[in-house]
Structures are given as structure tokens and as C-alpha cells.
């Protein structure tokens, strides 16, 4: 959207002087309080998913706390150029080629001119990259270190160590993270995994969990039938999520309790097993398979049940059980990965990942439900909604930023030394050489277009933010959104 003047902020000033007052090298004032943060990831809206909403929600809360936040991602179809989202969150959709699975191709160099231009014009002080699958995130870390900016990386996923693809990704991650200032993981299990994969010093890895928007997951007791007991399962139907366990549990419990129903949301290769079970035991009216669910429909499925069952065999941070608890369901889950960290003992029944143990856990939950010992859904919701809020995530991320802002960035020679010493004899030297090339390329770019030629962008958010709320979302502002942004 086009920028239309600075609202009431610049009244009475000469706009040109107002702009250049705070232009060169005034980052010192920013260091004390507000930061200029640049979130980089290949994954952002209009693409949908966990990382995308994480970046968006975190940015919104950081803006609320007075920081300047911009997001850099690659162009999605016709959505390219510069856009503004709610509260003046500025998003750069860069015209970089998408290679595979919404991730851009990486050559480590071709994105430098544009990224450097953006980092300079926005006076960015901290680069925050997201997701280890995103090539652009790694590119940005690499360039930011060459430019002497501070770097933070958030890892959103767990990885294996055994197969070829994870060996390669782990090597890349080692290289990318060995000189990054700080790393954020979503649970302690994920931290352990990342530290091992990237051979990091655990002290520079923080744990900040994901959050749930509690207003999206509210209980609705009138949607469920209290004459029968409904168990809800929402997960992808794959081996990793324990669908095989589920096929053992369903017939056993259905024979024991005549008033028990199952609702299963999700799709996957193991769906056939559940259909077989349903066929063999004639449970068509008691086991409903809903197929793939959109994220917005999950709440409507959850509120129909009394008990939520999670049978995962491995999990970094299980968002599904938080969402279920927020909807007021009693949660029964396997004790694997990061799950025991997620909810307090009185809200969750933890079992071993076996059919027997899970059946015992479910029977315990059913007997509690029948005796009326379970707390009301509204009460559970009120407890859970205080656990994982985006404001809390933003507060903790801010502490990481404050810490990083006080650290020094490795100089070029130290960085090369670290790359060579940490990343193995072959990879270390290759990437040290690439780092040198990157530095030479940056020097060339600085000679072609000195930093002083690049004009400073007008801040939409942050201490000098020009984004104002005084205009209603009128025709003008609404229409300009749809304008072509690139030429």
C-alpha cells in the first residue's frame, strides 16, 4: 500500500529535514530500548501454516511493545513488492525464484543486493530468521553476518539423524548456526535435538514455546451430547502420530462402553487401517472419520467431544493438546518428546505409548467424567488461556533481543576461524571461502551504491512509527491495497 504522509506526526516540520534527522547511524538510540527487527522466512502469508502464523503473531505483539518490525519473504504469485498488514507490519515480497515446496533456490549470493538494500534502508539491527527448511532464512543469516548485523534463528521442527537428507540438513544447519548470536527452540526436547544436530553451545539456545490464540479455541458445552461420551482425535493419520495404537484402542473401548463415540479428524496413509477396524467391528455409527480438516474447522470439531486423545510417538511441542485443553476437553496423551512439558498434571493424563496403557488412561478419564470429577470446560479454558499467549512469547523474545543487542558480532577473521574449527575440515574450508566471496561481493556492492545513496525508509512501526489509526479503513486506504506494486 502506498504511503500517504505521516499523519499528525510531522505537522509543522519540513518533511525533508524530519526524514534525514534520524538517518545515518542513529542506531545507538535504538539499542537502549526498541529494536529494528527484520523477520526473514520463505514461509509467510498467503501461505498457511504454523511458521507463518508464528511470524505474524510474534510481529504483531512486538509492534505492540514498540519495536519496529518488518518481514521479508519471497513473492507469492502476483503478490510481490511491498505491502502493509495490520498495525503497519511491512512485508517485502521479493521476486526470488521458488525452487521446491515454497522454498527459494539458494546460491548464497544472488539475494545479497536486495537484502542488503533492505537492511540498510530500514536500519535493521537484528535479523530474525525462521524455520530450518527455508533457504532464504539461511541466506539472510549468512549475509547479515557478513554485514555485521546481529542474528537470531528460530527452529520450528524436530529432525532425525539417520537418513541422508537429515545428515545433509544437519550439516547445513551446523554451518549456518555456528556463528549465529542466538537460537530459539519451541520446547526443551526441540532444544536438545537442535543442540545435537548443529553441535551448538546450549547456552546460546533459548526455549520459547509456541502460543495459541485463546480466542480462537473457546469451549461450547452446548455443542456436545451429554448422554454419550465422545472422544476426539485430530491429527494426521501417519505412523509418527500413532494411528496404529488408535486402531487397537477403538475396538477394545467400544466393546466395553456402549455409550462411547469416536470422532477422528485428519487424513493420511494410515486411514485405511481405521477403516478396516470400523468395518470389522461394525462401528460405522460410532466412529466418524472426517478426513482432512482446515485449521479454522478444528475448533468446531473439538467442541463436540469430552475427551481428547493424542497418540503421537514423537513430538516437539504438541499444539493440538493445548488447543484441545483450551476448548475445555480432558486430554489423554502419550508421554513422549516435549509433551510432558506442555500441560500441568491435573489437565492431562499421560500414558505410555501402548494400547494397554492408553486404554487405562482413557478409562480413568471416562470414570472421572461419569462421576462428574472433571472441571467444567469454561474453567479449564480459563486456566489454559493464561499459559501460552503471544504476548508472553513476545516478551521472552524481546529478552533474547536485548541480550543479543549487547553481544558483539564476530569480526571476519574470527568468523572464518570458527567456520573452519567447528564445521569439519572440508565443509569448514568451503564455507569459509564462500564467506570471503560474500564479503568481496558486499564490498563491490558498497562501492557501486554506497550506503549513503540508499534512502532511509519511513518507519511504519517502532518509536518513530508513522502508521496512524486516525483514518478509518476508508475507500482510499482499502483500494490502494490492490494496486500493482512493482514495475
Amino acid at each position: 500500500m502506498a504511503y500517504q504522509g505521516g499523519g499528525g506526526h510531522d505537522l509543522g516540520h519540513d518533511p525533508s529535514t524530519a526524514l534525514y534527522h534520524d538517518s545515518p547511524g542513529n542506531t545507538v538510540t535504538c539499542r537502549t530500548g526498541a529494536h529494528n527487527i527484520c523477520m526473514v522466512s520463505d514461509f509467510f502469508y498467503p501461505n498457511m501454516g504454523g511458521v507463518e502464523s508464528h511470524i505474524y503473531q510474534l510481529s504483531q505483539c512486538l509492534i505492540e511493545r514498540g519495536h519496529k518490525v518488518i518481514v521479508v519473504t519471497h513473492a507469492y504469485g502476483t503478490r510481490k513488492g511491498v505491502r502493509y498488514l495490520t498495525k503497519g507490519l511491512k512485508v517485502y515480497y521479493l521476486p526470488l525464484r521458488v525452487m521446491y515446496n515454497q522454498s527459494t533456490a539458494t546460491t548464497l549470493f544472488h539475494s545479497l543486493p536486495l537484502l542488503r538494500y533492505i537492511f540498510v534502508r530500514e536500519r535493521v539491527t537484528i535479523i530474525h530468521s525462521h524455520s530450518s527448511f527455508s533457504a532464504m532464512a539461511h541466506d539472510a543469516l549468512f549475509h547479515a553476518k557478513t554485514m555485521g548485523l546481529r542474528t537470531v534463528f528460530t527452529d520450528h521442527s524436530l529432525f532425525g539423524f539417520a537418513d541422508v537428507s537429515s545428515v545433509l540438513t544437519n550439516k547445513l544447519l551446523t554451518v549456518s548456526l555456528c556463528d549465529t548470536n542466538h537460537i530459539i527452540c519451541v520446547s526443551y526436547t526441540s532444544k536438545e535435538n537442535t543442540v545435537l544436530r548443529a553441535t551448538l553451545n546450549p547456552e546460546i539456545v533459548s526455549v520459547i514455546p509456541n502460543a495459541v490464540d485463546p480466542t480462537d479455541f473457546t469451549p461450547d458445552p452446548f455443542r456436545r451430547h451429554d448422554s454419550i461420551i465422545t472422544i476426539v482425535i485430530v491429527s494426521r493419520l501417519v505412523y509418527r502420530k500413532g494411528t496404529d495404537l488408535l486402531s487397537g484402542i477403538i475396538p477394545e473401548l467400544c466393546q466395553k462402553y456402549k455409550d462411547l463415540n469416536f470422532i477422528i479428524g485428519g487424513e493420511g496413509p494410515k486411514r485405511i487401517i481405521l477403516e478396516e477396524v470400523r468395518e470389522r467391528y461394525q462401528l460405522h455409527d460410532r466412529v466418524r472419520l472426517l478426513g482432512a480438516l482446515e485449521h479454522k474447522d478444528v475448533r468446531n470439531v473439538l467442541v463436540q467431544g469430552h475427551i481428547f486423545l493424542n497418540t503421537s510417538l514423537t513430538e516437539a511441542f504438541c499444539m493440538a493438546i493445548v488447543e484441545a485443553a483450551s476448548c475445555g476437553l480432558q486430554v489423554v496423551s502419550t508421554r513422549v518428546g516435549g509433551i510432558p512439558e506442555v500441560l500441568p498434571d491435573n489437565l492431562i493424563i499421560l500414558c505410555e505409548p501402548s494400547v494397554k496403557s492408553l486404554c487405562e488412561g482413557l478409562e480413568k478419564a471416562i470414570s472421572q467424567l461419569k462421576s462428574g470429577a472433571l472441571p467444567a470446560p469454561e474453567k479449564i479454558h480459563n486456566i489454559v488461556k493464561t499459559f501460552y499467549t503471544w504476548r508472553n512469547v513476545a516478551e521472552r523474545t524481546e529478552k533474547v533481543y536485548n541480550r543479543v543487542a549487547g553481544e558483539t558480532v564476530l569480526s571476519m577473521d574470527k568468523r572464518l576461524e570458527r567456520l573452519i574449527s567447528r564445521c569439519g575440515p572440508v565443509t569448514g574450508y568451503i564455507f569459509a571461502l564462500l564467506a570471503v566471496f560474500n564479503f568481496l561481493f558486499l564490498t563491490f556492492l558498497r562501492w557501486m551504491t554506497p550506503d549513503s545513496y540508499i534512502d532511509v525508509a519511513i518507519d511504519a512501526t517502532g518509536p518513530k512509527g508513522a502508521w496512524t489509526h486516525q483514518y478509518p479503513y476508508s475507500r482510499k486506504r482499502g483500494k490502494n491495497n490492490e494496486m500493482p506494486q512493482t514495475r
Binding site: 504522509g5 545513496y453 534512502d455 483500494k479 490502494n480
Partner: protein, 189 residues
């Protein structure tokens, strides 16, 4: 009344901006781009000629040398006539409209006139241009079919891409003269 300001373009060159106030409802901007420098002219000519001589030594055909002469001359003529813009003028007359004039180095002029009724707004936009991100001034045109729609975006000063301050000032100027509806949040300069 007339004043002159100096700005830099995105490549670091100098631009001179003249503002002429004819009357409260009629103003003019005149943006002069840097002249064709002898250095760039010499370097381009030298490159073409060196390449031509290189080819000549390889195939020893004097046609190449004559071709090089023609290429240089025609290239220069074409550049001056179609590409190189010396001056861009933005004449704003309230109640009539906006006239955009570009004068090329060869003396050719091209003029576009936009009636006041078609002008919806004058705004500053931000775009990715080559390996840069720039601000530019543009005029939004009304869509006759849809009263709230925009039919076209006309960029102004597109051949002398300028640093942020210029579109900023120009936008202030245009809107203060055109008396566009007041929700710009722009102060009068």
C-alpha cells in the same frame, strides 16, 4: 516566484528541482536530470571500438570497422532521442488537471495531460526496482466504471528516479495545489 532545490537520484547523481508559482492555483515543477557526461560517452565509445578492433584482428574484415562507426553513431542518436531525458516538467493547474512533459536530450518533447476529473489522488508508492527498493510519485486515475476503483497508476518522474525527499515534497505540492480531499495527513509546505 521561483526557487531551486537540489536532490540526489538513486544512483547518487545530482538533480535540480525548480519550482515556479504562477498563481495559487497554478504551479510547475521542473526536474533537470544530470547531463550526459563526457566520461560515460567516452567509455561506451571506447568499449565498442575496442571490441570492433578485437574482431577485426580476428577476421581481418574492414566491414567490421565501418559497422562499428554506424553502431556508435546510431546508438548515440537513438539514445539521445529516445532514452536520455533532460528535463521532466509537472504542470499543475487546479480545476484543469496535470500536464506531464518530458524533454529528451535531442529536443524531442512528449506531453501527457490528465484531466482533473480523472485524477483520484497523488501518492507516493514503494516498489522493488532492479536490485533496489525505491519510492516514487504516482498519480492514480479514476475508473469510470467503478466510482471507488482505480483504472491506472501513472508514475511521475520515472526517468529521473529520485530519492525519497523529492516525491515527498512533490506530493505535498500537488495536493496542496489540487485541493484533493483532505485525508492525506500531509502538511502544507
Amino acid at each position: 516566484m521561483e526557487d531551486e532545490l537540489s536532490f540526489s537520484d538513486i544512483y547518487g547523481g545530482r538533480l535540480a528541482l525548480q519550482r515556479r508559482y504562477y498563481s495559487p492555483s497554478c504551479r510547475e515543477f521542473c526536474l533537470s536530470c544530470p547531463r550526459l557526461s563526457l566520461r560515460s560517452l567516452t567509455s561506451v565509445t571506447c568499449t565498442v571500438w575496442l571490441a570492433a578492433y578485437g574482431l577485426f584482428t580476428l577476421c581481418e574484415n574492414s566491414m567490421i570497422l565501418s559497422a562499428a562507426i554506424f553502431i556508435t553513431l546510431l546508438g548515440l542518436l537513438g539514445y539521445l532521442h529516445f532514452v536520455k531525458i533532460d528535463q521532466e516538467t509537472l504542470l499543475i493547474i487546479d480545476s484543469l488537471g496535470i500536464q506531464l512533459t518530458s524533454s529528451y536530450a535531442s529536443g524531442k518533447e512528449s506531453t501527457t495531460f490528465i484531466e482533473m476529473g480523472k485524477v483520484k489522488d497523488v501518492i507516493i508508492n514503494e516498489a522493488i526496482y532492479m536490485q533496489k527498493v525505491i519510492y516514487y510519485l504516482c498519480i492514480l486515475l479514476n475508473d469510470p466504471a467503478d466510482p471507488h476503483g482505480i483504472s491506472q497508476v501513472v508514475p511521475v518522474f520515472q526517468d529521473c528516479l529520485t530519492a525519497v525527499t523529492l516525491p515527498w515534497r512533490a506530493s505535498l505540492w500537488c495536493s496542496s495545489c489540487l485541493l484533493l480531499d483532505g485525508d492525506h495527513g500531509i502538511c502544507t509546505d
